[in-house]
């Protein structure tokens, strides 16, 4: 069964195609603001403009025609409303054109399921770190439970915001990672509350330090402090759930220092680290196709529904396929 997945929760519009055996294509086009952060309406304008081309490219790379598609999946939650609506409209249009079923899927869970499928990890604790999301998730009692999360902002947005204060355009992550290589440690707050992390206080602290310390030192200390917090709560989730696999995913998983720290933590406690290929860590259509197919196989039949849910929580989704 050929499944076309459409992703549009934030700044990326993506289309991916897979069947039970293979992922055939994974095309992305991301909105990049000239200045500031992501403006939801401008991002959705971008998505509307590129949607046709992205889907066409995904089909041609897979060597398929629209009529070969058997199932259309789209991310309907969580995310920016205007952006989600473009993905939903695109998916609805295609499903109606080819008269095939449509399946809405949760974006965060798609990140986990594509990792499980590609890397064959069985029952991981997932450290999901992206712009808006920072969650530590483990499967328990029929749902993906959130064991720890940020109490305020996502770690990607945190890094990008700091970069913006320093006059670096979006996305600031790669630039900060590079600068950090020459940095030295400056003390920053280390904020863990129970299992959760909080980042806004550290952001304010960093902003106050901006012109008083070397920029590279702040980049280094930011990474060392915040990643240590994330790895610490991940380790606690592993200890608490008694699982021994860690899946690191989301856009911030591209950071090599974070990967290294997760790797060291896992090897010290006899756990195994899994990190998907970068194109499956960032927002992408293939993961939506993978989850859509999995849900369809499990017998989930949805009425033809293209409503979106900006604030759906990971643990609100009933998991019927595990």
């Amino acid at each position: 069964m050929i499944c076309l997945g459409i992703e549009s929760t934030a700044h990326t519009f993506g289309a991916g195609i897979c069947d039970e055996n293979k992922i055939y294509s994974n095309i992305r086009d991301s909105y990049k603001p000239d200045e500031g952060g992501i403006h939801p309406r401008l991002a959705s304008d971008h998505h509307a403009a590129v949607s046709g081309e992205v889907v066409r490219k995904a089909l041609s790379e897979a060597g398929l025609l629209l009529n070969d598609v058997d199932l259309v999946a789209f991310s309907n939650a969580p995310g920016l409303g205007p952006c989600l609506r473009i993905g939903a409209a695109t998916a609805r249009t295609i499903a109606l054109m080819i008269n095939k079923p449509l399946i809405p899927v949760n974006h965060c869970i798609a990140h986990i399921e594509v990792g499980r499928r590609l890397l064959r990890c069985i029952d991981p604790v997932t450290l999901y770190v992206s712009g808006a999301n920072t969650q530590i998730i483990a499967y328990q009692g029929g749902v993906y439970r959130v064991f720890a999360e940020t109490l305020d902002m996502g770690v990607g947005n945190f890094i990008d915001s700091f970069a913006r204060y320093a006059g670096i355009p979006f996305p600031g992550g790669p630039f900060i990672e590079d600068k950090a290589k020459q940095g030295h440690y400056v003390k920053l707050p280390y904020v863990i509350k129970g299992m959760d992390v909080s980042l806004t206080g550290i952001l304010t602290n960093l902003r106050d330090k901006l012109n008083k310390y070397k920029f590279q030192d702040l980049c280094y200390s930011l990474q060392e402090t915040v990643f240590a917090m994330l790895v610490e709560v991940s380790e606690r989730a592993l200890a608490h759930t008694q699982k021994n696999e860690l899946l690191l995913t989301g856009g911030v998983a591209a950071n090599s220092r974070l990967r290294e720290m997760c790797g060291v933590m896992c090897s010290e406690r006899g756990a195994k680290l899994f990190v998907p290929d970068k194109q499956y860590c960032v927002d992408n259509g293939a993961m939506i196709a993978v989850l859509g197919l999995k849900m369809h196989e499990s017998g989930i039949k949805q009425p033809f529904n293209t409503s979106i849910n900006q604030k759906q929580r990971t643990d609100q989704v009933i998991i019927k396929w595990r």
């Binding site: 328990q140 439970r145 440690y185 003390k187 509350k193 240590a228 610490e232 608490h240 997760c262 929580r313």
Partner: protein, 204 residues
């Protein structure tokens, strides 16, 4: 010497009727952060165990080794509540929840925030609930911090004991409000703390 647990941040050894909590080096983080965290957490934990021990059931603090980040305390030879709570009879469950609510209230009345209230950090021995692991504890009078302390427990119950969490939570908070000086204010604040959480049902 017998290793009885490897938690996320420390190794616990049993030596006879004593327990050594050794905060081990974490190689994933830089020495500056690692030294600072281990030192400050060991010191603060020892101080708080001592104070808490005068109020509720906890291990007794015997010795602190600041050089090696080790704490020596008495060993509570019981069962981790996480493993047994689902199997308790109704009357046992009420007795246990009352103790938990009362103990949290007594800590809060003394401005001690446990910081990691989960059923993994409670030991049941001879019908008494002992609180352990004050590694993330702090001293604070703030209603906000007390509310966040309770939220950690609520989340832990929901994620680990979802079948009985509502009943357990109700029993614990009823007793908490009876004993805590500003119990009602804390429970009120908890509601607004939860509303602040990301993507909560109640704010949709």
């Amino acid at each position: 010497m017998e290793v009885i647990a490897q938690g996320a941040e420390s190794i616990l050894y049993r030596v006879g009727d004593k327990l050594v909590k050794h905060r081990v080096k974490k190689r994933y983080r830089i020495n500056d952060i690692d030294d600072l965290l281990r030192k400050s957490r060991t010191r603060s934990e020892a101080k708080i165990i001592k104070k808490a021990g005068e109020l509720i059931n906890t291990p007794k603090l015997l010795k602190i080794d600041e050089q090696d980040n080790k704490i020596l305390m008495s060993f509570i030879d019981g069962e981790v509540l996480r493993d047994v709570i689902n199997d308790l009879s109704r009357s046992e469950l009420i007795m246990v929840c009352n103790q938990i609510g009362e103990s949290i209230a007594k800590l809060h009345n003394a401005s001690i925030i446990h910081g990691d209230l989960t059923t993994s950090n409670m030991i049941l021995k001879d019908e008494l609930v002992y609180f352990i692991d004050f590694g993330l504890s702090e001293v604070s009078k703030k209603i906000e911090n007390k509310a966040v302390d309770l939220r950690v427990l609520k989340e832990a119950l929901n994620s680990k004991h979802y079948l009985i969490s509502n009943k357990v939570w109700k029993l614990i908070t009823e007793q908490y409000v009876r004993v805590a000086i500003d119990g009602c204010a804390v429970i009120d604040r908890l509601k607004s703390v939860e509303l602040r959480g990301r993507y909560k049902k109640s704010c949709q």
